[in-house]
Subunit: 121 residues, 2 copies
């Protein structure tokens, strides 16, 4: 996908924020890196995302190519979500956030090695 008119400018920072510039998308991406795939998993995270916001963000993440959706149950229809390589490519951004918060907000969790060393399939 190339840059389109829907982005505010050709700046790579603004372009990235057009896609993940909100309070929730990168929290969901964190959960996906940690192996979560289903609504109930995301809803169980300590930030207590609401179902409405979760559905909205997953839909936008799929549209942006950050996740793939897969039907895993027919009745009722249930989907699970898997990071794409494009989505997984944001891992360094998350690690940068971890470093920054750990330095400036004592008491924040230190990311486990499994998260730090994450490599996409």
């Amino acid at each position: 996908m190339s840059r389109t008119e829907e982005h505010r400018s050709p700046c790579p920072i603004a372009t990235t924020l057009d896609i993940v510039g909100d309070r929730w998308t990168l929290v969901i991406l964190r959960d996906l890196i940690n192996g979560k795939r289903r609504y109930s998993d995301f809803l169980a995270s300590p930030e207590r995302i609401t179902t409405n916001i979760l559905a909205d963000r997953l839909s936008k993440m799929e549209e942006a190519g950050l996740v793939n959706r897969r039907l895993y149950q027919e009745r009722p229809r249930r989907y699970e979500y898997q990071l794409t390589r494009k989505g997984a490519g944001l891992h360094p951004v998350l690690c940068g956030m971890c470093d920054w918060a750990n330095q400036h907000y004592p008491g924040t969790w230190v990311a486990p090695e499994k998260f730090r060393l994450f490599q996409p399939d």
Copy 2:
């Protein structure tokens, strides 16, 4: 500053997004790294931030300790903004966004070396 109850969880990613998780804050931070300090400078950026959003974000950035405000003119009162070390510490997050967008959105700008090699004073 330590983590406070205003943050959603002790997760360092969620904590960072509580502060910079929107479409504009990191765009302003980019401008500050590029040497911009005044309202008119920020308003001139290609993303066309509005004065209301700019004022709101600069106020929140000051409150979070990302910038310092300095009066540079008395009548009318005008302020300029300077990155703190804490604010400058988000530079690696911005570089991660540049790498990601450059890879996935051909046509986005490549950050100049001056930006890449930025070091806080």
